[in-house]
Symmetry: C2
Subunit: 407 residues, 2 copies
């Protein structure tokens, strides 16, 4: 079961200028909604980040092209089929569904951004969209966020949504976002799927900068299994309906405040994905400090987070810190000062001077490990940079879920 998450979503504040809906079109083999529409009013700005996987899906390629041509009026998301590894036939299917959506929504096909998630290698079937799109268009509502959060789920156990209100310079500003993802999670410049919006007005270049920066510390700092998906994408829309004047200066206080809040929303969504990671029983925060650069801090953090030996030890609540040490040792940093590195499990210092800390007892480690939420801290003694990586453990259920996924 997801670690520290429930099926209950928080109150999701509407974002003026956006309407959402979710229906069952018949794309998923299992029951449940599988088609989500998000309609954006004229004047919205939308920024996006996409997977860096070379074998990115047809909808990713198409969405990138559409975003260059036009600001989008419609975000169209289907679950149940990733339309990845589908070659020319997949691209034609993606284009066909955009054309169908444009007709229903009264816009140009290039104003539709398509997103797909689900099984790789099967061409997206177009027929379910014939009934699904008009049905979804009829249901569009400013209160549709919760339904949309459920509609984009695949192996997710719980829906993921975050909503915040803040005050910037006396103006009320709202941010609401949804995301999905549970397996094939090691995003590179994006997440599985995330849709975040604010009613603040933000110029497009600043909106893209805000999203890219926030992604680096959130979706690009999580891993479930080290597998970067072919379909990752995250968008950030600014509808401009708040009374706050447009933000167009990256050095303004308003930019800093909104950027911090957006980063918080993305980080909450990202950690929800980890908490609902396939088979997860533990939520693990890996803090790497005293690094020479943020890049090397992330490198060490991800090496620990990807280690199946570390992850199975967490599943067993076994304070087998030797495996963490071995992961630090193979992370590929030059000139590691082994005797200066310190390793903490929770607050307990486990390793110093190249070996077990004299103050550490197995009882201390066992007490930390039996919790559902655990923090590891590695202090590298090389500088002042730091990074935080979030991951989960590796359980029987991870194997079960992925061995049975297509059957």
């Amino acid at each position: 079961m997801p670690v520290g998450l429930s099926d209950q979503m928080p109150e999701l504040f509407p974002i003026a200028g956006m309407r959402l809906s979710s229906v069952r079109a018949g794309i998923k083999k299992r029951a449940g909604h599988d088609l989500v529409l998000i309609e954006l009013d004229e004047g919205c700005n939308t920024a996006a980040v996409f997977t860096k996987n070379d074998f990115c899906a047809a909808p990713v390629t198409l969405a990138k092209a559409h975003l260059v041509a036009h600001q989008p009026k419609v975000l169209m998301i289907n679950s149940g089929n990733a339309n990845a590894g589908t070659g020319e036939a997949g691209m034609q299917a993606a284009q066909a569904t955009c054309t169908m959506a444009a007709k229903v929504m009264g816009c140009e096909p290039e104003q539709v951004l398509p997103f797909s998630t689900g099984v790789i290698g099967e061409v997206l079937p177009v027929t379910p969209f014939e009934v699904g799109l008009p049905a979804a268009a009829a249901e569009l509502s400013v209160t549709g966020w919760a339904a949309a959060a459920r509609g984009i789920m695949t192996t997710d156990i719980v829906p993921k949504a975050v909503s915040k209100k803040l005050d910037i310079d006396g103006h009320a500003v709202t941010i609401t976002g949804i995301a999905k993802g549970s397996g094939m999670i090691h995003p590179n410049m994006a997440t599985m799927l995330g849709y975040v919006a604010t009613d603040a007005a933000v110029s497009l270049p600043l909106l893209q900068k805000m999203l890219t920066d926030a992604t680096d510390d959130s979706f690009n700092s999580i891993t479930v299994d080290g597998d970067t998906s072919t379909n990752d994408a995250c968008t950030l829309t600014a509808t401009g309906r708040s009374s706050l004047p447009e933000i167009s200066d990256a050095h303004s206080v308003a930019y800093a405040q909104l950027s911090e809040a957006v980063t918080q929303v993305l980080t909450e969504l990202a950690t929800m994905i980890v908490r609902d990671g396939e088979g997860a029983t533990k939520f693990i925060t890996i803090r790497v400090e005293e690094a020479a650069s943020k890049a090397e801090a992330k490198q060490v953090g991800f090496t620990i987070a990807h280690s199946p030996l570390v992850k199975t030890a967490f599943f067993a609540s076994d304070p087998n810190w030797g495996r963490i040490l071995a992961a630090v040792g193979r992370a590929g940093l030059d000139n590691l000062n082994l005797t200066a590195i310190r390793l903490y499990l929770g607050d307990a210092c486990i390793v110093e001077n190249g070996g077990r800390s004299p103050t550490y007892t197995e009882e201390q480690g066992a007490a930390v490990m039996k919790e559902a939420e655990i923090t590891i801290t590695v202090k590298l003694a090389r500088g002042t940079a730091a990074a935080t990586i979030y991951t989960c453990d590796f359980s029987y259920d991870y194997v079960k879920i992925n061995a049975e996924y297509r059957s």
Copy 2:
């Protein structure tokens, strides 16, 4: 159970000039032998490769230093304790056991190469060596290879040994080797533990070259879980007792023949480790062809081999080739030509022109996947380099073995 391996070892030909023994000293908590001695006659040449993990174990650091000072007379291997992450106390224990072995064997402490394998983070206990070393010395025998293969096991289910006789220029030459390893297997410049010997005479620089080259295609081409151990080491000893004149020319026919046979022995030992990989039910050969360089071929092969999603699909006998494609796509190669890449499962072409091959059927894939031994071939269409990576699947038992390892 190990894939295609039995507990039965092949006939292991003695190597004149070497004697081996294995005893229980009481280092392992479970039953079984845990101390192995290998005695080398005067005139033997020994080359070695060691782990590149920065947190290498005390015995690795000490063995490297000893090898620089002297050619070894004794290889001393204990299982049950890795003596890694043990700082200064671990180094003192390693030195103490070398001094004890030197006294028993009548040599200098620097002529003893120590090796340890087992749990990380506990200082090697010295007391078991007091009784164990004299007992092991008393049992030394030219026929001790099989006992030694069992004595170095930890989570291995079956012992791993290979023996070959060949004819070089009319002279009979023998090669015999043993290895251990089952988890924390992603060797970098070495294996878990491997000891290979030949009765041919080979000059020391050539012996090191032969071992380094052979390691690259064998132990450095396997992975069980992507975790590089702190204790990996492999030695190659040439006793010079064959009638074949000393090999001292890297361009000689004799060097080529012996080198090829040594590579075969190391590759057989390496694939045995994968076949006995923790929880393995499938043995998977990943062949990457048409690469621009061997390095990028290995990079693609290891990205596939490390993917938990690919490995769980193999466990389920599910031809979920989309996961293989996604792994190729995130392997980090610049300018991949997606439409030129072909992917084969066994002999069946699955992917071409960026999508599923029109000739491929799920039945073809299912037939290949239900076998215990499976070959994937990726043709990158970028050049003529190739590499072969060996791995196993990811099963419930991998989780079970590693969740319960210390309990």
